[in-house]
């Protein structure tokens, strides 16, 4: 048996092993705990590297590195993990972000410190995230999807800001509520479509379902995923969770956790229920563009740097969902790209917001200013990320945004073209508003001269862990922007298959 067979399981469970090791390590020896966490995440990433090297890029629509063993026989649920072109970019993102988060945390764990518990949670999170992107069985997917919830809950609830309790419980209950409906839909699929939880099998068998049943089941899935994305009007947990979460928590939340929702749409909801997806698409697209505009307005009203970035996620995920709602290969490709791009860019913005907060002990925009004077490198990186976030061509954000807009011009056959063209124009207007809130934020934070209260403060420019954690992300933002084929080449094959599944159900 070669490593191909073990690779995915290693990628999923190595962090869990690391978590156990850290948990068992003596509490006083922090350096060793941090080293174990770093080694584990790097080793996991190395497995990711192995996967990348051995992935067959000519057949990205095929499930690769598959393992399919019996697990819970009584409900016919199997341990089925595999990856295709849609999972790969997200799995890599998850692995990369976790490593960088461990590095970033190295010297400054948020209050009340306790690196041991913090690292354990981070490693459990990684298992959950990696598992979700690999699972090909609904129950397995659900377990990983839910596994993510608890560590993040504690991260916010223990290491968060002043209002952390409220934010943590809101995050928890909101997501749990969606999950409840999602598992109901999973069960309905099981009982109505062939007593299996296997996603591939279900995609083949679901066409036998009555249209009404499909619609209902899709509705349950929609709630589960839409809350996670989050889509308007289920987004209100997000600004609170982000604002209160510790920096690393926000980064993981924005970079990876939100993608679990959008990924769910592409991996589960659409391929299994393409017919229902068509009926739901206009509504999803509508909520997506409302989210784009609404999120942007929300941003413009903010006075807190971190909360502003949090609201911008609502807008950006709106573009991702718009792409998905067109049910075309262009749109879904854009969505996959948009997920990775948003992960890198917004992740970076949260890192920056955290570092700014650490230096100035405030995130109030009205008190900040002149960052370029006091910490020029950090200031320019902020400017760079703002530009990337507003979708400047040549940087990663563009390739999530523009193809999504483009695809709305001609959605999948059977969808209302006029409606989606209206969405296209509204989404384009959203790009102007994005420029508005991002540059306005940049102007308030970085331009000008420092306010009197900080005029004499000694502000340290980038620390080493910040450099190490950020440079890979910045380079990736440029690389993906210049050579979008890096992702499109991987995602396209698998996305075509999803789009074809939609086409197959006829107009």
């Amino acid at each position: 048996m070669n490593f191909d067979h073990w690779a995915l399981s290693a990628a999923i469970f190595l962090p869990l092993v690391g978590a156990v090791l850290v948990a068992l390590w003596p509490k006083s020896d922090e350096t060793s705990q941090k080293s174990i966490a770093l080694i584990t995440t790097v080793a996991t990433a190395a497995v990711g590297g192995y996967l990348l090297l051995h992935f067959n890029y000519d057949h990205t629509d095929k499930l690769q590195f598959a393992v399919n063993r019996s697990w819970i026989d009584v409900i016919n649920s199997r341990y089925h993990v595999a990856i295709d072109g849609i999972s790969v970019p997200l799995l890599m993102l998850s692995m990369l972000i976790t490593v960088l988060c461990v590095i970033y945390s190295w010297d400054h764990f948020p209050e009340p410190h306790n690196p041991k518990a913090f690292l354990v949670l981070m490693l459990i999170l990684e298992t959950g995230m990696n598992g979700t992107f690999c699972a090909q069985d609904l129950i397995l997917f659900f377990v990983f999807f839910e596994l993510v919830l608890l560590p993040m809950y504690f991260m916010i609830g223990v290491w968060g800001g002043a209002n952390r309790q409220y934010a943590a419980i809101k995050f928890f209950l909101f997501t749990l509520f969606g999950s409840a409906l999602m598992i109901l839909s999973f069960l309905a699929l099981y009982f109505k479509a062939g007593n299996t939880f296997d996603m591939v099998e279900l995609a083949k068998q679901s066409s036998t379902l009555a249209h009404g049943t499909q619609l209902l089941i899709f509705g349950g899935l929609f709630m589960g995923f839409a809350i996670k994305v989050p889509m308007f009007p289920f987004h209100t947990w997000l600004p609170d969770a982000h604002t209160e979460a510790p920096t690393v928590g926000s980064v993981i939340l924005a970079a990876v956790l939100l993608k679990l929702g959008t990924y769910g749409f592409i991996r589960i909801a659409i391929p299994i229920l393409p017919e229902a997806a068509k009926s739901w698409a206009p509504w999803i697209g509508g909520l997506a563009v409302i989210g784009i505009i609404y999120g942007a307005f929300g941003c413009l009203a903010q006075t807190d740097l971190k909360r502003l970035i949090a609201f911008s996620s609502v807008a950006h995920m709106g573009f991702v969902m718009l792409g998905i709602s067109t049910l075309t290969s262009f749109g879904i490709n854009a969505a996959v790209f948009g997920m990775v791009a948003h992960g890198l860019i917004t992740g970076m913005l949260f890192f920056l917001a955290g570092s700014i907060h650490e230096r100035f002990h405030t995130r109030e925009l009205s008190r900040l200013g002149g960052l370029l004077v006091q910490a020029p490198r950090m200031g320019w990186i902020l400017g760079f990320c703002a530009m990337a976030s507003l979708g400047l061509p040549g940087l990663a954000g563009f390739w999530g945004e523009f193809p999504a807009i483009l695809s709305a011009f001609r959605p999948a056959p059977g969808l209302n073209e006029g409606l989606f063209r209206a969405y296209m124009v509204i989404a384009s207007v959203g790009t102007v508003l994005a420029a508005g809130y991002l540059l306005w934020m940049f102007q308030r934070t970085a331009f000008g001269v420092p306010k009197d209260e900080f005029a004499d403060a000694h502000i340290h420019d980038l620390h080493t862990p910040e450099y190490v954690a950020w440079v890979p992300m910045l380079l990736l933002i440029i690389a993906l922007g210049v050579a979008p084929a890096i992702i499109f080449r991987v995602s396209d094959g698998a996305v075509q298959m999803v789009a074809n599944a939609v086409k197959a159900v006829g107009a």
Partner: protein, 673 residues
């Protein structure tokens, strides 16, 4: 073929220069400027080489039908989705070559000029990095073969204009101007995104500009699709090329360093919009039935812009603002020219205008550098500088005359072609607009020269000793003034080389009319220009005319105030549009978010807590448990449990609940094997 094949080097060199300057610039002996100058110099030589090889390319057809086929080269596949393959490559034709030469020439001179002008700047290195990237943006745009690549160049320029206009970002005024430029052009860019999308599908899933143009000419796209696409694209043009009503960012952009103004307003950025129309001309030509219908939005917007901007140039006391409004007005000519079917005239106007406008801007820089002690206020800090700065004076006057359209200087030939096109293609009214504009142009430039170079020294010019600028500054001025004199002859009657070089098969296919030089038209246009100069001369030098009338006559005073306030457009945008979006609208949305949507969420949570409290405290503890335990429980204890629930420890219960669920799941796994 070396230069044509490798024309991609022309834009790659400035990109590389940007990264090199940014990474190691500060450690170099000349702080990175040497990298910028060297890269641009090399690009300039490559562009000239490309131009020579382009001219040497075999001509297909003969007489009026003679044209050269564009040189296309795909460098690599940018990305592929399904059957749609998008290449990254270069598309070199006469238009691209002309633009390459203009852009690299002006940019090289600006780079050299800045060596002296920006010498002691606090961010000299950043400045050069910005200049390089800016230039590369324009070069990417003009060599692009696909609309997507055009968008790339287009937005890179947006970014760099933001960086360079806000170069001195310590002052809020400057960063405001930078934001304004970015927002305004970005507002227009909505049209670009939409327009590119429409054309992509309209022409059968392609970004290829040539294919799109051909599809438009062959009628493969319905007129409705073409019209929508053209209107959308034109919105972007209005933003980028500072046409009415989105011209307001351009005068504010003067907040940037002067050489940047020269670069933005002469050769890059603002002519990007004009270039876009010229590049996608078959689309616009067909969509708006140019030359076949009496009126179209391109001509109207261009015409309005000519007049309203020229009028504003009269009330400025800042020399750079005069030149800024003059640029807006001249861009109006280019746009109007395209609107009336004078393609060659408009493109030629980009070409000639670049030289004399760059000369004027750099001249203004030279004055501020050595004559008026960093002030641009003509009324307060200049006057009588002609003897102190003879070279600057001479070049400034030459460029002004070229701008005013006096033969045989450059501006005359290109403007004349636009007016001729308007007259011959059935757009008589727009020809009149152009003539009135010519009169106004000549007149405000005369005013500008008088205030700057004649009369007494005032303010800074009196207190600091004005002197001529160093050769690094005057050199580019002289070079540009020579081009301002000579560039127009390239397309003079009998020569018409520019037309031959830029003609493309697509334009021939589209039957875009070309007209022979007409002496009456030229005579009228010269007469208007001379009249403008004469009126200016009489008013300022001879002090003739109703001076002070705007103070005395009420309606005139109102008109003056209207102009001074820039037609109140800024107020409308800043306070009206932006203010309301940023203020009341954003706040209202956020209020809804916090109170309605989130209120609902919190309401549900509150209700659930209440119900849970009731179920646990009353039903479970009192009724169910009460039945079991009898009446052993006191009311206080039930109450205290209720309090625990209400004081926010619910989440711990939720956590425990979840933990239990996980255990349940685990046991399910273990026991079902």
């Amino acid at each position: 073929m070396f230069f044509l094949r490798n024309a991609w080097l022309i834009f790659l060199l400035p990109v590389l220069s940007f990264f090199v300057i940014l990474l190691v610039g500060k450690r170099l002996p000349r702080k990175g400027s040497e990298v910028g100058v060297a890269a641009l110099g090399a690009s300039w030589i490559l562009s000239l080489g490309a131009a020579i090889q382009w001219i040497g390319r075999p001509v297909i057809g003969h007489g009026e039908e003679a044209a050269r086929h564009a040189f296309d080269r795909n460098l690599f596949t940018w990305f592929q989705m399904g059957s749609v393959k998008v290449d990254f490559g270069i598309h070199i034709d006469g238009l691209a070559v002309a633009m390459l030469v203009v852009v690299t020439t002006i940019s090289t001179l600006v780079h050299i000029f800045s060596l002296a002008y920006m010498e002691d700047d606090r961010r000299y290195t950043h400045y050069y990095a910005g200049l390089s990237l800016f230039t590369s943006g324009m070069l990417i745009l003009v060599t692009a073969g696909t609309t997507l690549q055009m968008l790339l160049g287009w937005e890179i320029m947006g970014l760099c204009s933001f960086m360079l206009i806000g170069h001195w970002w310590e002052e809020k005024e400057n960063s405001d101007a930078a934001l304004k430029a970015f927002f305004t052009t970005r507002t227009g860019d909505v049209g670009l995104l939409v327009g590119i999308s429409i054309l992509f599908f309209g022409a059968g899933q392609t970004f290829d500009a040539t294919k799109i143009n051909e599809a438009a000419l062959k009628g493969e796209m319905s007129h409705w699709v073409l019209l929508m696409a053209a209107i959308a694209l034109f919105c972007a043009v209005v933003g980028k090329s500072a046409q009415f009503p989105l011209h307001t960012w351009l005068p504010d952009a003067m907040a940037g360093p002067t050489p940047v103004s020269a670069l933005i307003h002469a050769a890059t950025m603002v002519v990007a919009g004009v270039f876009l129309v010229a590049r996608m001309y078959p689309v616009f030509f067909k969509a708006f039935s140019i030359t076949h219908s009496p009126i179209n939005p391109i001509a109207v917007i261009g015409g309005i812009t000519i007049i309203i901007a020229a009028a504003l140039a009269f009330v400025q006391s800042d020399i750079k603002k005069v030149l800024a409004y003059s640029t807006v007005s001249q861009l109006g000519y280019m746009i109007m020219g395209l609107g009336v079917g004078a393609w060659t005239g408009s493109v030629f106007h980009i070409f000639t205008h670049a030289f004399y406008k760059a000369c004027l801007f750099l001249g203004a820089g030279s004055i501020a550098h050595s004559g008026s002690h960093h002030s641009f206020d003509m009324k307060k800090d200049m006057g009588g500088l002609k003897d102190d700065m003879p070279v600057t004076f001479a070049t400034f006057v030459i460029a002004s005359v070229a701008l005013a359209g006096i033969p045989p200087l450059a501006g005359f030939w290109s403007k004349d072609e636009i007016l001729l096109g308007a007259g011959k293609n059935g757009y008589g009214f727009f020809m009149v607009v152009g003539l009135v504009g010519a009169f106004m142009t000549a007149c405000y430039m005369t005013r500008c020269i008088y205030l700057t170079f004649f009369g007494e020294h005032r303010g800074n010019a009196a207190h600091h000793h004005p002197h001529e600028s160093p050769v690094l500054i005057t050199g580019p001025l002289v070079f540009l003034s020579v081009l301002s004199v000579g560039a127009g002859l390239l397309n003079a009657p009998g020569v018409e080389l520019f037309k031959k070089w830029t003609m493309s098969p697509l334009l021939i296919e589209a039957h875009i009319p070309e007209h022979a030089f007409s002496i009456p038209t030229a005579a009228i246009s010269v007469a208007f220009g001379l009249a403008g100069i004469l009126v200016g001369y009489l008013w300022y030098w001879r002090n003739l005319g109703p001076h002070g009338v705007t103070e005395r006559a009420k309606p005139l005073h109102a008109g003056y105030t209207f102009l001074e306030n820039k037609y109140y457009l800024d107020r409308l945008y800043t306070d009206g549009v932006v203010g309301s979006i940023k203020g009341p609208i954003a706040r209202a949305v956020y209020w809804t978010n916090q109170n309605v949507i989130d209120g609902l969420v919190n309401g549900v949570a509150w209700l659930s807590q209440r119900i849970a409290g009731f179920v646990y405290g009353v039903i479970d503890q009192k009724i169910v448990d009460g039945m079991v335990n009898g009446a052993g429980w006191s009311a206080e204890e039930g109450g205290s449990i209720l309090r625990v629930l209400q004081t926010g420890r619910v989440q711990q219960y939720a956590a425990i609940l979840f933990g239990a669920a996980v255990l349940f799941g685990a046991s399910l796994v273990l026991f079902t094997r």
